[in-house]
Symmetry: C2
Subunit: 763 residues, 2 copies
């Protein structure tokens, strides 16, 4: 069933820019988001959050709240199945429902400020808030650890006392290091010895948040047949189902998740924080319950991208060939194990061919929110550190920054630093396109005479792109319209990009496909919308369903003509007989005659795919900086990326633009500003400074199409890799403008002024 891409093929639908199927719904208000769910008898659910970042819970007394009129249910960790009762417990480091249940509602300790300790369901919001105030929690405060250095100190307070950490595969007790792993190939020490220039640097990064506009929400009904129905804005309804099942010890088939529309996710809406709480409240209350976070709850109680410490060492020979590279990543997991350090290790050297490599990764518990995925999780941190050292190597070695990347580019057949061999990869083509770009070849006036200075920076990035399981179904109407069910949440236009792949095969317009994303009972299993897997994997499932539909329609045509189905061929959306040219039916003609041949035509397609082809990107940025204030403006930005094949170019560009913008925010402004007691001091969108459209120029995109060898159309994921290069590119532009190297994010005005001060002192 798997066709392979034909390079250079001209498509009718793929590569065009139809209006997305959900466009009108989303601008007219017909689209249903989580907050829109209204059910008869619906109760308001809310949570009580810890005022301390690290404390033992000595007691929780909900009796005064329970006694209040209008309160229907209170829930604490005691309402979760006990460890002994659990049927699923996959161990530390992977999906661990004991740990996740402790994160959803604190058990014996609170691990971070804002950690949920209790939840309540009441007739309305005011009653719920009043009742929350009547819950008495007795805390014993404990020392707070807010960074990885303190966490791994010999005398560090142990945050998770029963944690069984792993050090290169060996169990470790009494530690804040949940995991330490290593990938090593070749002989790095010999590589450094063979080098003529070796640079080693250490970088510090703060946690940042995905910053999706829509807060988390969940509405649940739990009736006494044991079945739970959930509505939740999520990147993956099946993920909410499996997590809620695992957390509540239910069979997955007992849970139905309705995937309402999602107002941004970027990886952060892959974790089920509220669905299990809403379900437990609904079960106890005997009524439907809706729970929504406020912005403070989102910042304090969901999963930001990990900060931490990154050490990078690179050695090159005099010709500018990298001889060895090592990376040491100490990532803040947050209050529970599981940061993106593993993915950071996969991505860090993905754009390069390096014979001798060693990567150490540490997943470290600190008193901060449990980190979660954020758009190419781990890769922006890794690229910030690695690309910055690459740029310093080029500066000191006198190498052109793009030529250096070209000379050291990864190619098909090379080994990735964590082991696998690269399939066809567009690293070289992407860097070459950046070298050929108008931006790179346009001079920059570094001193425009307005008291500000300008600089240009460049950096690359890598993301592996995902695969996995997806399902789609197609159904043909009598008027030739095709209705599509698919299981992937639509975040960035995936209804369109999936439908277009089916439309292309069927030879019909994208608008003639009508996509739906049904509940988990009504479509086959489909993995999360994330990992840049959706257009690739769910698109392939839809393609398979289209292939099956054409085969079924050949049978139908053969029945009408009284010939063998093998004599029917399909071209240009028409069916004809190979042996009798008189026999010919257009798409709509045949669709109108299904009743004569057995009734409606429905087909299904599913896949379980290995990763799509890897994604590579190179970004160029021009910054203007005011040396008096340290304020930075983006003048021009060009993102070059290998997309494999842009199914819907506008939405692929949108992904690239969005990734670049988030990267600029991360580079220049965004951070969890955590005080010593573990409080986030800027937990609102007023104080947590994300760039808006007023802060930025248009982002230019250059899409390179090196078709992935996998799947019918050569699609690579596009959503994630654009967040990898911006941090180091901005740092490079700051250096180009001011001659200062920064080693921490965000590279905010204060840091720039400090570095300028330091430079002045040393000069």
């Amino acid at each position: 069933m798997v066709a392979t891409h034909e390079p250079g093929k001209q498509y009718k639908v793929i590569g065009t820019r139809p209006i997305r199927h959900d466009g009108y719904d989303k601008v007219t208000g017909r689209a249903q988001y989580g907050a829109d769910i209204r059910l008869p008898g619906l109760l308001w659910g809310d949570v009580l959050r810890s005022p301390y970042a690290h404390a033992r819970i000595k007691s929780i007394d909900t009796s005064a709240a329970d006694a209040m009129p209008g309160v229907y249910a209170t829930v604490t960790h005691a309402d979760f199945p006990t460890v002994e009762d659990r049927t699923i417990d996959a161990g530390e480091g992977t999906v661990n429902f004991v740990r996740q249940s402790q994160n959803v509602i604190a058990d014996k300790k609170v691990h971070y400020r804002g950690h949920v300790v209790a939840a309540i369901a009441a007739t309305d919001k005011n009653t719920a808030l009043e009742a929350l105030g009547k819950i008495k929690v007795e805390y014993e405060q404990l020392p707070v650890i807010t960074n990885v250095t303190d966490a791994i100190a010999d005398d560090a307070t142990i945050i998770i006392e029963d944690l069984v950490g792993s050090d290169l595969g060996n169990d470790v007790h009494n530690t804040n290091i949940a995991n330490h792993f290593r990938h090593e190939f070749g002989d790095p020490e010999k590589g450094f010895a063979d080098s003529t220039l070796v640079i080693e640097r250490e970088f510090n990064m703060s946690m940042v948040h995905q910053g999706y506009i829509e807060p988390h929400n969940a509405t649940a009904i739990w009736t006494n047949d044991g079945r739970v129905t959930i509505w939740s804005s999520t990147q993956g309804a099946f993920g909410v189902r499996s997590q809620t099942a695992g957390l509540l010890n239910l069979a997955e088939s007992q849970i139905k998740v309705n995937p309402v529309e999602i107002g941004g996710g970027f990886g952060g809406k892959t974790v089920a924080y509220l669905p299990p709480i809403a379900a437990l409240l609904a079960g106890k209350a005997g009524r439907p319950v809706k729970v929504q976070m406020d912005r403070k709850g989102v910042f304090e109680g969901t999963g930001p991208a990990p900060g931490g410490k990154m050490g990078i060492k690179i050695g090159v020979d005099s010709a500018g060939k990298i001889q060895a590279a090592t990376a040491d990543f100490k990532f803040e997991a947050g209050g529970f194990p599981g940061s993106a350090v593993g993915a950071a290790a996969i991505c860090v050297m993905g754009s390069y061919k390096i014979a001798n490599t060693r990567i150490d990764g540490y997943d470290i518990i600190v008193n901060k929110p449990k980190s979660a995925a954020y758009r190419a999780p781990g890769s922006p941190q890794a690229a910030y550190a690695f690309e910055s050292v690459v740029n310093e190597i080029c500066e000191q070695g006198g190498f052109d920054k793009l030529q250096f990347r070209l000379d050291n580019a990864s190619h098909e057949g090379d080994r990735r630093a964590d082991g696998p061999i690269f399939p066809l990869i567009g690293t070289e083509e992407t860097v070459q396109a950046a070298m050929d770009s108008d931006h790179w070849n346009s001079p920059l006036d570094k001193n425009p005479g307005n008291g500000k200075v300008r600089g240009r920076g460049v950096a690359s990035g890598f993301w592996m792109n995902g695969g996995g399981k997806s399902s789609a179904e197609l159904s043909l109407d009598a008027d030739g319209q095709v209705f599509m069910n698919e299981g992937s949440a639509d975040i960035g236009g995936t209804r369109a990009s999936i439908a277009m792949q089916a439309a292309e095969y069927l030879g019909i317009a994208a608008e003639d496909i009508h996509p739906s994303i049904p509940d988990t009972d009504s479509i086959g299993f489909t993995g999360v919308t994330g990992g840049s897997r959706t257009t690739y994997a769910t698109g392939h499932a839809a393609y398979n369903a289209a292939v099956a539909m054409v085969e079924e329609l050949k049978v139908r045509a053969s029945m009408l003509w009284g010939i063998d189905a093998s004599d029917v061929e399909f071209n240009d959306s028409s069916f004809s007989s190979k042996s009798d040219p008189e026999l010919k039916l257009g798409w709509k003609e045949l669709a109108a005659r299904l009743d004569e041949t057995g009734g409606p035509v429905q087909t299904a397609g599913s896949v379980n795919l290995s990763a799509a082809g890897n994604g590579t990107a190179t970004h160029i940025v021009d910054l203007e900086i005011d040396p008096e204030t340290g304020k930075t403006d983006v003048l021009r930005y060009t993102a070059v990326q290998d997309v494999g094949k842009a199914i819907h170019p506008a939405y692929a560009e949108g992904q690239i633009e969005g990734g670049a913008v988030q990267g600029i925010g991360w580079a220049l402004n965004e951070e969890y500003f955590i005080t010593d007691d573990g409080t986030m001091a800027n937990s609102s969108f007023l104080d947590y400074r994300m760039p808006t459209s007023l802060d930025l120029p248009m982002i230019d995109t250059i899409m390179v199409e090196v078709p992935s060898p996998f799947g019918p159309y050569g699609v690579r994921g596009v959503g994630e890799v654009p967040l990898a290069p911006p941090l180091a590119a901005c740092r490079d532009a700051i250096y180009d403008a001011l001659g200062i190297h920064l080693y921490s994010t965000p590279m905010k005005p204060g840091r720039i002024l400090e570095a300028l001060e330091e430079k002045k002192k040393n000069s």
Copy 2:
């Protein structure tokens, strides 16, 4: 793909009585009915109904209503596409969207009291009601016709002035007879001449209502991309889609109908009264609108079963063989063409083999609500008349009433009086089972000494049972659970009866199938739940999907074993190799290994079927009557019916019991009490007297299983034929008790007393 029934086969799932999948939802309130739909910005829609039964609309002025604060939209017939604009107009007598649009909102005339003349959308109910009061309608009253005799009188006022009626195929103008058709076989006059006993009688019947508990409702959103989303309690979401599309001149693919749960339909929820109104209001208002009827609106403005006049003539020879029979049906279509007279003609002689027959059917316009389907539409009226004459023949001829039916029973190969040849039919077996029943063989004390008298009655009935188009999809989970999408509204337990047919083939429990009924975008076309087609046709679609799933799973097992799929067999829900007995995988074992073989498994099945095998029934009833008051009590009731194969016996019995109860209500109490000016005087459940459980004994059922030759399990429809026999059976029991023959329904206390008075006078 079509397996045929194996008589005598023992099944694992079919024939058992699992709890229906929607049972808990419906008793705990999780099930969503139309009234439960709540959307952000939802407006209240309501309608203005005509106070006159026949009038010309001279003008409608909505300006005062439009000017009211809180009023968002008013709609009149002028908002429908004009006749000239219509792309679909199938002509009188079939689906006619011009006529339906005139029924939904009156055009130039009101045809019956309660006819909708305008609709309004406002912020809330009170505002809507106040605004409705400000709409000024100028009427010119016209003479009112409330019965078929007046309607066909030479000087009758013509209700539909542009009606083109048909008289045996010839166009007729200036008439209230929309259609007159005839079926004639053999030589009826010769048959009557050959008879030794001929009886001819005329019967009068009043309109009755289906009496579903839940009033009609519709919620709609119409956004400016031209797409309409509708929620409505209906027997067929695709019917709402096609009717709304036809009425509003939209493509069906522009409309998505969400099938919320339905609180009873019985044929009456096949017509889209409110969806087009809600859609038009929503389109004009730019906001979602919900419209719900009250009970008075349901009685006055929906589709009751037609009343009318029925003439029956039967001739028999001295051996009790029917030599000839004729029927003359004059049915009240109501205010627009299209009564159930055609189906009455199909059913009237279905239980009998008669060589010489003639049936005349008339569809007649009167100033009453446009009639609609009601459970075996036309058959109860036909059976009331025909079975009553059969019983009188038996009385006068001295024939045993059941032996007579046995002697004259229809068999496979006989001709039905409207033409078709019967396939295998269980008439004889059903009558025989009634003869063998405990009820029939238990003596009845006709004078119990309490001042009341008792009588026993019997009658038979026939329904053809439907076929048509249905779609189902199955999806297999990693834990072996199967999720099913099917397109049929679940009125009487069809989720269970459809799921059980798939479960049987798959060898899993009914509870391991999880049924959903998705919106019209998300499942293949499926006809209405009605005609007793659903368990047969949609069950067959699910069976086909199950067959496809087993075939796909054979391929998956063969991949795991490295053998050819043709070497894999499936027995007792296990897969094994024919050639290597070591290779064996249970259902759940294989389900857990789908990821290794390409991912999720989903399959689809669809059908377009000719009718299921016909349904026959014979009912026995014992009544006790108070001769002082005419009040009648049901003492004992036994319903015998050929169900083909009872998939879920409890729900098949439930259908039979419900049909019998509705028939008892129709026989003894229910009627549209219409005053001379066309007003329904009893338009509430207080005054429209339906039997409740307190009025009735338990209904005994005897299910005969003469498997239908069509479909995998021999299923016949069960829902409709049980409404055919009760009317004549009750009439027969009244005769048995009191020696009076009644010729009108309902056979209410007043009529019984009048007949007793008449009898006294004549004796």
